[in-house]
């Protein structure tokens, strides 16, 4: 029988917590990979941890107060997915250490929410026995019960609870159904803690096959009928993994992403630019016509708005990434691309971290924790920053829109601008491949770890889920513009008007050419001149060591504060001030250079030494410099 009501041991109703502090303080969420723990975590805490439809999204433990169910006094810990308590990878070790109270700085959990995917219980239950043996009060939550029902699966939850000796409930974390069982369980767990601790049951099930035998018995006794394979998933895979169609779809998806970023993103971005410029000009009129207006309009607003205009493109890119991740296509892409990964000696497991590096290298480097083999993990960390992250999008789009004509091919299906953009992405990917090859042939002769990839069921990405991702991403971008970019713009502007001159009794600003920044710029100019960069670009490069977007803000400030280019806009200013060779060299430089302190910091943390980030920074800067040099020289000769 299929039963929707949450099943708990029949007990008298528990009174809500009185004034007395509850003993229960910490609750852990545990379960196999891709069983929906983070979705549930977000439901229970009202927080927004990253969720997606592939195994291994969560690699760290996160804590939050269980606000959404009115228990702000309780801390919920979300853990990386594990198959068993015997662990081979970094992320799984985190989960087991937290669960057993061995993680420094994290309190030992008082009770456990065990999340299992109801659509394949035989396998998922294998984790239950080891988790129960820890001896904590445990609530078993069978997630995705809606999918089980839809596909004809059945389960007697009452019998299952009896078999397991722990309460069991059917839920859907995505839809938020069945969750009222959680607060109820927490009250009971609190009561149980007041009594003497439960006798700890020693683990009797040592090997996977013993766990498996037990799990099979339990599912048989609780009348589990596994749901039939999702018809849609099979049908879609028959097409999306088809020998001829798959590569075509794969490439079409990639092209579509970039084409949309230009055809839809560019007009939106231009519109936003007009609105921001207009708003800035209007607001400037309210200010007194002195240095303050110059500072705010030419210095700060120009810097910040020149980055902010890229918000539409960034959001579009993340919309696509969100759809690919949430639908389950990402895992298929990993399968299709495995052949390429193998040819350079990389583990198939490196593919998902590398793909997520298209958004940002920082989470990508953290995602390498799912790679068991230490040396392969290091190789993946070292090559991840070559993948084109979203922070490169502003400078790429700026240069492409300024220098590449908007020509369309194949009856308007593909544009030259999108092709150049794809070329830049391919360039980064190639650099990653070649570096991996280099590492493999010299320092890391690792025995290849196997490629084991679970393919999740396809799911419709929810509007709410996508909207939240975009909101978070958008806020992050706007915040960056309002902090780092604002700060750098301020410093750049101040340096561009100092030192003050005193003439006829009044203080006057320097010309930009004679300012501190002008002198600094011309000091470094000989180094970058062969690359086709002028001194303003040089200052931009220096400032972008904080983050790649900063260069656009810096250029916005420098060209905005310069009377000669003050009113033409950044694109036009660059078009007049750079050659085609220099412009292309600039984006090539950004394709390779490691301009990101956050990435350096995360590499330092994950490798536990300064050696690798320093090595990586030097190597990438070296490659970037010479690639830009060659690009400029070749293009200047050709055109």
């Amino acid at each position: 029988m299929s039963c929707h009501a949450p099943v708990l041991e029949p007990l008298e109703p528990v009174p809500p917590p009185s004034g007395a502090r509850s003993r229960l303080k910490t609750v852990a969420l545990i379960g196999p990979p891709n069983s929906g723990k983070s979705t549930l975590f977000n439901r229970l805490t009202g927080m927004r941890q990253k969720v997606a439809n592939y195994p291994g999204v969560t690699v760290e433990h996160h804590s939050g107060r269980m606000k959404s169910i009115g228990r702000s006094d309780l801390t919920l810990i979300d853990l990386p997915g594990i198959y068993s308590l015997a662990t081979y990878s970094e992320d799984a070790r985190v989960a087991v250490d937290v669960l057993t109270g061995k993680m420094p700085g994290v309190p030992r959990p008082d009770c456990v929410l065990l999340v299992l995917d109801a659509t394949h219980m035989n396998r998922q239950l294998m984790l239950a026995a080891p988790v129960f043996s820890i001896g904590l009060p445990t609530l078993v939550l069978l997630n995705m019960s809606d999918q089980m029902d839809d596909r004809g699966g059945k389960l007697d939850t009452l019998a299952l609870a009896r078999e397991l000796g722990h309460p069991v409930a059917l839920i859907s974390a995505a839809k938020g159904t069945g969750l009222d069982v959680v607060p109820d369980f927490l009250l009971r767990a609190d009561k149980a803690l007041e009594k003497s601790p439960r006798p700890v049951q020693l683990p009797v099930l040592q090997t996977p096959s013993e766990c498996r035998k037990w799990a099979t018995q339990v599912t048989v006794r609780s009348a589990y009928q596994s749901p039939s394979a999702s018809l849609w998933t099979s049908r879609l895979d028959a097409v999306l993994l088809h020998r001829w169609i798959a590569p075509v779809v794969f490439l079409a998806v990639v092209f579509a992403v970039f084409q949309v970023v230009f055809t839809i993103g560019q007009p939106l971005s231009d519109g936003l630019g007009r609105v921001l410029t207009h708003a800035g000009a209007k607001a400037a009129l309210l200010l007194p016509d002195n240095w303050m207006r110059l500072l705010l309009r030419d210095g700060l607003w120009n810097g910040v708005q020149s980055v902010l205009v890229f918000l539409p493109q960034i959001l579009l890119l993340f919309l696509f990434i969100g759809i690919l991740e949430d639908s389950g296509y990402l895992a298929r892409a990993a399968l299709i691309a495995d052949r390429v990964m193998r040819s350079i000696g990389l583990n198939g497991k490196a593919f998902i971290p590398l793909l997520s590096a298209y958004a940002c290298a920082v989470p990508a480097i953290m995602a390498t924790r799912t790679i068991e083999n230490k040396r392969e993990r290091l190789a993946t960390i070292l090559i991840a920053p070559f993948m084109t992250c979203s922070a490169r999008l502003p400078i790429y789009t700026l240069i492409i829109a300024a220098f590449i004509p908007n020509r369309l091919f194949l009856g308007g299906v593909i544009g030259l601008r999108a092709l150049v953009m794809i070329g830049l992405y391919a360039l980064g990917f190639l650099a990653a491949l070649l570096t991996a090859k280099l590492l493999n042939s010299s320092v890391m002769k690792a025995s290849p770890a196997p490629f084991i990839l679970e393919l999740p069921q396809y799911r419709w990405p929810t509007v709410q889920g996508l909207a939240m991702r975009l909101y978070d991403r958008g806020m992050l971008f706007v915040k960056k513009a309002g902090t780092i970019i604002l700060g750098v713009s301020l410093v750049i502007w101040i340096l561009s008007v100092l030192p003050l001159h005193f003439a006829s009794g009044t203080a006057q600003f320097s010309d930009m050419a004679n300012s501190v920044i002008g002198h600094l710029g011309r000091f470094i100019e000989p180094v970058i001149r062969p690359l086709g960069f002028n001194w303003k670009i040089g200052i931009g490069l220096l400032s972008s060591i904080f983050a790649r977007e900063v260069i656009v803000g810096t250029l916005g400030t420098l060209y905005g504060a310069d009377p000669a280019t003050h009113s033409v806009g950044l694109q036009a200013a660059l078009r007049h001030d750079m050659t085609l060779g220099g412009a292309i060299a600039l984006v090539v430089f950004f394709a390779f250079a490691m301009q990101c302190t956050s990435t350096l910091a995360v590499v330092r943390r994950e490798t536990n030494s300064w050696k690798f980030p320093v090595l990586q920074f030097c190597y990438m800067t070296f490659v970037a410099y010479f690639a830009a040099l060659i690009t400029n020289q070749v293009i200047t000769r050709l055109f």
Partner: protein, 84 residues
Amino acid sequence: MKTGVTALSDAKVGNVGIVESVDLPEEVSHHLAHLGFLPGTRVEVVHRAPAGDPTVYRIDGVEVGLRSETARHIFLKLAPGGAK
């Protein structure tokens, strides 16, 4: 090798069989065991990636992609008739 036992990598798309044994290093076989690759479990070959490798197998209602270099060490007894 016993008669009727084939390496998983040699099974064709559509083939169904019962896992006989998994001959891989501890950490790999441990991971595979938790995905269901244990003696006695039914496995079906469902898709091959466009490049001919890896191959997707359905086991326990879950689809798992494995390279042939791994599948070569998993042995199964094909169900009579081979393809369904």
